[in-house]
Symmetry: C2
Subunit: 206 residues, 2 copies
């Protein structure tokens, strides 16, 4: 479809995706129209269909990819460097702050519900996001193991999975109720559990 894109074309395409993402956040996926996106991005119908020949769904998919990347990016550099308890705490703060600021908007969730399980690409994006996210958490736990702050026989994947679930649940409740208390509690408790394992190491190791 888009094999030939000049520099200008690439810029326009990017402008459309980013503008569409903004519109979807503001208006909500359900009520955002192509006209809204055109107005926001100063483009015409033909441009939209030029860069996304398959129409709205293809555009939404591109926005979903954009938002998924954003999720990971917004947690950097902390998420990629969880090699001390201080780093974990900083990361926690970033996550809480990011989602408190985002408030009750969930662009990715909305997009997922809109595009639906029908499209194969949609699920792949979320699955990949979850995989990357959990893998980063697992890497952080392993880093602590390597530093001797956590026991070597810890079930890393289970811990990472539970942490990811804690975050998702907290965010989910934040979206529903507007209160971030659950996100904080869930994250705090998850990290506290980890530290407790570390304390065991400290006691054993002297």
């Amino acid at each position: 479809m888009v094999g030939k894109l000049t520099a200008k074309g690439r810029a326009t395409r990017a402008r459309i995706v980013e503008g569409a993402a903004a519109v979807l956040r503001e208006r909500g996926v359900a009520s955002a129209t192509l006209d809204d996106i055109m107005a926001r991005t100063r483009t015409s119908k033909s441009q939209l269909f030029h860069y996304f020949p398959a129409g709205k769904d293809e555009l939404l998919l591109a926005v979903a990819r954009f938002e998924a990347d954003q999720v990971i990016e917004d947690q950097q550099p902390h998420l990629g460097r969880l090699d001390s308890w201080e780093a974990w705490e900083r990361w926690r703060d970033v996550v809480v702050e990011r989602y408190e600021q985002q408030g009750d908007e969930c662009p990715l969730g909305s997009l997922f519900f809109q595009i639906g399980r029908s499209t194969p690409g949609a699920r792949a994006i979320v699955v990949e996001l979850m995989r990357r996210w959990q893998e980063s958490l697992a890497a952080g736990i392993r880093a602590l193991q390597a530093a001797g702050r956590l026991p070597a026989d810890l079930d890393v994947d289970a811990r990472a999975a539970a942490l990811l679930a804690a975050i998702q649940g907290g965010v989910s409740i934040l979206l529903s109720t507007g209160r971030s208390a659950h996100l904080r509690v869930a994250l705090d408790q998850g990290i506290a559990d980890l530290r407790r394992e570390g304390d065991a190491v400290d006691r054993r190791g002297g």
Copy 2:
């Protein structure tokens, strides 16, 4: 609006809500139309607007209420009687099974995104559901305290909140990926944490 409903009328209204719920689950909220609901429930346009004068939004709201009640109901009688570790385990199994069976459908989540934050009633339904859910968990924890299986100084609300977040996160990931592993891990770990607190009591209490 609906002050006067004969027995027949009430039956029809209920049939519409239940049928609409089924259609929304199958087709997805985004692509389900009033015509679909009419076909499924063997009703006419005028009936839909007779029982839901404000139109589709009002109907969706009614379905949301229905689904929210369903969520709690599906966990009974276990959720209302979490007074032993065995009861907690049984409840866990019911939750996992229920959501595994539901698969990647999330009627309530979809409805929430569709109706949106604009409507005040929508959020209230979810907030109330979360409140009831967490309160039941808290009651279960208090029952264990009363039975001497958990320490009296446990932060009941924080535990209940974290458990609720664990469930929500697990379900959320199940919806996204189709895998229930996170839900299982999160629930198991949450309950295991609780039991660990109980073990402390046992050691102290003899």
